[in-house]
Subunit: 116 residues, 2 copies
């Protein structure tokens, strides 16, 4: 269960999936099993160059890998790395969730003690 208590949140990885455009790109790449800067840009409201930059970011953190295929460069999602990113989302989410639950419980106890 690899339990490191201190948040092992990789800020680079997080900020990579933090951008809405990049999230959309990952979504498209997953849905279609791959794509190029041009093909992605045709399905998004930004230019090819913007997409290319984002692909560079995603590539640098390993969320995506692109290899030359003829005259185009085809990108694919790295499943393992995306799984790590998803785990981080869950990690942060559950940490906050746990705190919220504890706070709520304490509040209820105080409330109960006061009405007795």
């Amino acid at each position: 269960m690899t339990s490191t208590l201190v948040e092992p949140v990789d800020d680079d990885l997080w900020s990579a999936i933090g951008d809405p455009t990049r999230r959309r790109m990952l979504d498209l790449l997953l849905a279609e099993g791959g794509g190029t800067a041009t093909s992605l840009s045709r399905q998004m409201p930004v230019t090819r160059q913007a997409v290319a930059k984002h692909l560079g970011v995603l590539d640098r953190v390993g969320l995506v890998r692109g290899d030359p295929a003829g005259r185009e460069r085809r990108y694919r999602v790295d499943d393992a790395q995306l799984a790590r990113a998803v785990a981080q989302l869950a990690s942060v989410g559950s940490a906050w969730d746990a705190r919220l639950r504890r706070i709520k419980r304490i509040a209820e106890e105080i409330q109960r003690a006061r009405t007795e």
Copy 2:
């Protein structure tokens, strides 16, 4: 099915919790049940002014609320809104997770069919 696969993610809310510094601040506020720009900045590697700006952002999306208390302004986390943010993390995470699982299943089926 290959169309709009992006969930109704509130981009403002998401980008508010997307910043590492703001996440850290929320964490501290939750842990200590509140705080001021100055008190937070003393536990972080940024200046009070930077913290104040972030508090402004968090306030604007409703994740945090600050009321004057004497000569200082005390901020507290809005539990309900943070719960909404946590729900979004879970939502995006589970969407990707589902896709990854489906891809893996298909890959295994292909593998199995090939070895028969």
